[in-house]
Subunit: 473 residues, 2 copies
């Protein structure tokens, strides 16, 4: 396997090899050796590794960002070299803070009974499988799951995403240098690039692997979930979400233009390849919905083609659009691949309420890329019905005016159980790194609505185990 520049479709850089089952099992075996060291090391030592890693990354900011740009075609400035880069180093430092202040442990003391409850590491590595769309801040070797796993003192085995192997290799080199500088064992951090699916399953079954951190497609996530469920190993799975935006009739009537504008702008961020992309906009009131569609179409037509992350993303997007079209969803603009590389036109489609109800699974299926679907519903009662029928989501936005307060209240009452995050007005694409963030949501958006993948110390809990020391000397 070699990297491909999505902007021109050409391979570049060195060959990355597929790891054999024996190599993966050796990684699992090695991880066991690092478990006790990480569990017992002074927090400051592991924190020192993370801080030094962040410093080393910052020293290589320009080249790392360019490399990530070449592999993903995501915007170099400000997206990769500033926003995502800073998010990555901030998260590493947050994890270091967690290790220093022990906040991730959630210690509870009971002096009377001479008992103490604390979270501890899992006793094996976390297999961190990162996504295509955040080569830095969600990379298996530098991103959110990595930080959470290390904050809870677990070894990490990262699987580099095939969409950015060179970026991952470069990150890993810095990680290893920082690890060695901090005198952590080599097996604290391991990485591989590719494996046969069955061998990945075997690795999950290895005694040296205690948990999975996965961000990616629903299809892959569901396969891995079944494996982990069978093994009884915890899996943090971020799988899919269309993050619907509900526009109540008053707001739609009063602000059709600006709503269309903020939606399209959020939709196209990162080429429409955010897991929090607001893929579906539900607008109450047919006249207002027409105006939203018209303005959104203007903007989408005026926007340049997007370079998608990989050919697989492009194929999936094209397939999704074809499925929608065949089912009778109305194409408004876009819909075609362009060249060079993995380009695709911004694509807008619309559907009425009756059709959308019938085609719910299709309309509500995540598709990475610059595709937006507007569901034109007749009134707020229909809007509320759509909320009620929703599957689990990462996030959902309500757009409402003071005259919509009854509708807003109904939507809030429903969406609190359907989405990990609810927003008034704001589009869902911005995910602040904060202890008050919930980047999670009910199945099938994630595997478990009780956890968040962003925001320490709570995100570290995913990769921990509860322990009570009961009358221990």
């Amino acid at each position: 396997m070699r990297a491909i520049n999505p902007a021109n479709g050409k391979s570049f850089g060195p060959e990355f090899f597929c790891s054999t089952r024996a190599q993966l099992e050796a990684m699992g075996e090695s991880a066991i050796d690092a478990v006790d060291f990480l569990a017992d090391a002074p927090g400051a030592q592991i924190a020192g590794f993370l801080d030094d890693y962040a410093v080393r990354l910052e020293g290589d900011r320009a080249q790392l960002s360019v490399l990530a740009h070449e592999e993903t075609a995501l915007a170099l400035v400000p997206r990769l070299s500033e926003v995502e880069f800073n998010r990555m180093t901030f998260q590493l430092r947050e994890a270091a803070n967690c290790l220093r202040d022990e906040s991730w442990r959630e210690i509870a003391r009971d002096e009377k009974n001479n008992m103490r409850a604390t979270l501890v590491p899992l006793g094996g590595a976390v297999l961190c499988v990162g996504p295509s769309n955040f080569p830095l801040a969600f990379n298996g070797i530098s991103g959110g799951d990595f930080c959470a796993a290390i904050a809870a003192r677990n070894p990490v085995i990262a699987k580099a995403h095939p969409g950015h192997p060179n970026t991952s290799a470069r990150l890993f080199a810095h990680a290893c240098a920082a690890r060695d500088g901090a005198r952590l064992p080599a097996a604290a951090l391991q990485m591989f690039y590719e494996c046969a699916p069955d061998d990945g399953v075997a690795l999950l079954g290895h005694a040296g692997v205690a948990a999975l951190g996965f961000t990616g497609s629903r299809a892959s996530g569901m396969r891995l979930k079944a494996v982990c469920d069978g093994l009884g190993k915890p899996a943090s799975l971020e799988m899919s979400s269309v993050n619907p935006v509900f526009v109540a009739s008053g707001a739609a009537e009063a602000r059709a233009q600006t709503i269309a504008e903020s939606w399209v702008s959020s939709l196209l961020l990162g080429g429409g390849q955010f897991c929090t992309k607001p893929g579906v906009l539900l607008v109450s009131g047919l006249k207002a919905a027409d105006r939203v569609c018209a303005r959104a179409a203007e903007l989408m037509r005026a926007a340049p083609s997007v370079v998608l992350l990989t050919d697989a993303v492009r194929a999936h997007l094209a397939g999704s659009i074809e499925d929608l079209r065949r089912a009778g969803v109305h194409p408004i603009c876009g819909g075609r691949e362009t060249s060079p590389g993995f380009r695709f036109e911004p694509t807008l489609m619309s559907v009425d309420a009756a059709q959308a109800r019938e085609l719910r699974a299709l309309v509500m299926a995540e598709a990475f890329g610059p595709l937006g679907v507007i569901v034109c519903v007749e009134d707020d009662a229909q809007l509320v019905d759509f909320a009620r029928a929703l599957d689990g989501q990462l996030a959902s936005t309500i757009i409402s005016d003071p005259s919509d307060s009854a509708t807003r209240a109904k939507l809030m009452g429903i969406l609190r159980f359907k989405a990990g995050r609810i927003l008034d007005e704001a589009m869902p694409t911005g995910v602040a790194v904060s202890p008050a963030m919930v980047h999670g949501g009910p199945f099938p958006a994630t595997g478990d609505a009780r956890f968040t993948a962003v925001g320490l110390p709570s995100a570290a809990k995913r990769f921990s185990k509860a322990l009570c020391l009961d009358r221990v000397r």
Copy 2:
């Protein structure tokens, strides 16, 4: 189905009917109606229900305890009427406190970003399936899972255990009176007694059921886990554990007699039907192990037959002993059913290290009832090897003298990843209701090592969902 008095094997009391699928689905449907009410009610209103429920139970302490005694043959005094009864009412009041102080919500605020994270209810009922062995404090309609589910503001659908339907019905009557007194909706609490297995699965799949709280056998737990995993619904599963006790050589040599005594006494508590029963005692040093065996045998021979909870428990115990015997595990005393009712002799078996390694799955399998197995190992190195090969456990005890400090340290280092609770010296049967308790442990002891089933507010987290209110008005 009618209740059976385990002390004489005779049926008594009214007939309880098997609920049809339509009846169960109607329960799921009804639960949906109670969701918003419970989510939005003042905490004090739900807390008032719990406090009143506790008061009503205390007013009926004598009759409830006698009924539970007739159905389970567990000791009336102090076990049922004092210890377990007080545990039940204490937990109800702890849940009321959680609702008043909102501690279960784990609120995190971020003023700068105008964000707030909070746990919320699940948006559907928790199906609470209680075990046979705690008819009060773990009953699906009054026990730990019930308290946790209500503390997190979820409706409850309880399945009464067939071992104590009359106790459950009487508890439910008090619960309903308190519920009506507090003006909670009827569907906040529902209960059924029996159903076809497929209909139970259908109920789990109903949109009105959001989670499962199960305490029971590994076989049933694994079936229900597969169902919930497939549905993507959270399940709290407490399944099985032998809670091994590790006796290091110095302590074994110095204190063989007293170790045998405290082990046998813990083992026989509640007829050996505690989920925290120390079913396996591993003793380092063959001479000391012989002395432990001899003293334990004396005590077991002197102890009266135990009345088991149900005929199924007796059949399972007899089968386990037969399996061990056939495999070559040495029977020391007991092993026979006695009469009247579901009686069984206290039974001691022993096995050497080589055999125990070979028969690990058999020796380490939970069996309710007065069965204890002593594993006689040659030295502390073997003891440590057994710890390393252990499956997930609820609890594990280390018995050591100052001369055993190196062995103790090794065992602690291993057991912290294997058990939800570690004890020095103390037998694992006492499970304090405390925020510092962890009654949980790695799979297959439970379904998820990150949670505890005892100790509020943390136990409530099992039945909650994370929600971020992001720039919400």
